[in-house]
């Protein structure tokens, strides 16, 4: 791996809760490194589909096409992505992106 390639990798923590962790090996925290300049959440979703969710047959529990399905909240460092730039939010090294399936039970 060359220096220039490493410069464009972003290290992230991806976190899945509320049941969405069942799609990714029942593991809530995933340390990942994704390549690309100016990495956005949109690119993370595409990366997710091609990597962590590759062999998942219930991908519809998290994504609808390339978008997050209704009922799933996305946070960056514990802040609702609506307060940031939603899908266009640019991520930096060390950021934590959380996907929360909201619960309806009682």
């Amino acid at each position: 791996q060359s220096e220039s390639e490493r410069m464009t990798e972003t290290s992230l923590t991806l976190e899945f809760t509320g049941g969405s962790e069942f799609l990714v090996g029942n593991q809530k925290m995933h340390q990942v490194s994704i390549s690309g300049e100016e990495l956005t959440i949109r690119s993370v979703l595409i990366w997710l589909k091609e990597n962590l969710l590759k062999n998942c047959d219930r991908i519809d529990l998290l994504l609808e096409g390339d978008a997050v399905r209704p009922g799933v909240l996305v946070l960056v460092n514990d802040t609702d992505w609506e307060l940031l730039d939603e899908e266009k939010t640019v991520l930096k090294n060390g950021d934590r992106v959380t996907f929360i399936s909201t619960l309806h039970g009682g």
Binding site: L61, P70, L83, L103
Partner: protein
Amino acid sequence: TMHAPHSLSKEQVGRYSRQLLVADFGVTGQERLSSSSVLIVGAGGLGCPCATYLAAAGVGTIGIVDFDTVSLDNLHRQVGHKEKNVGKKKTESLRDSLHELNSSIHINCHSVVLDRHSALEIFKGYDVIVDCSDNPSTRYLINDASILLNKPLVSGSALRWEGQLTVYNYGERCPCYRCVFPVPPSPHLVTNCAEGGVLGPIVGTMGSLQALEVIKIISQSGATYAGRLLLFDGQSGKMTTVNLRERSPKCAVCGPHPTVTELIDYDVFCGSGVHDKTPDLKVL
């Protein structure tokens, strides 16, 4: 402050003495609680502890909405009910438990299916609404009715080892349920407690926390979860508080140009009925 003029009876001062002593609650907090009314929607896993702690604390009037009856498989988590009440209405079962604890408060049973026709008439009699329901359709209904009547809404939910809690419509910038979830989830993607299960102490924790939010709202003391969401993962013991978006200018019900100005058919909106059960699990 214990000796200042107040409206509490001698019996109330005795019964509530250990919370009258609490700094930033005190006599004023108790007076506010005693003259307030709270509606608990759902007499299940969340509704039982929430109603119990509000009754114990002396909320003047508690309303309970539920159309269901107690079943044996409720009792591992719905601790306001009793074995002897299996088959009876949950509203009346819970009311009897609350009155055994505190006979001095008023309790109203609304043993009806909450829908577009019944909700506003019931809700309008209460100061604070508590969502202890168990499906998206009812959650949108409760939200819209709370917005149309401008009541604060304390919302809790739980599944498996996890719980979530927030307060909607409490303050100018506080979002509502539709601000955060404008589009309902597909019904086949929603897991309920009959399918995914839930542990009793999870609903116990969340329902107790809902009661505390109600007490903070009514006593006007402390910082509520308005605009914040508590995520509780009981398996790891992790508690996270996240910042939610503000009230959305595009919100269909609480925005400046609402398209929802009266209650709608929420089963159609969510694509499912609230009565859906999971028949194959009922015969376990």
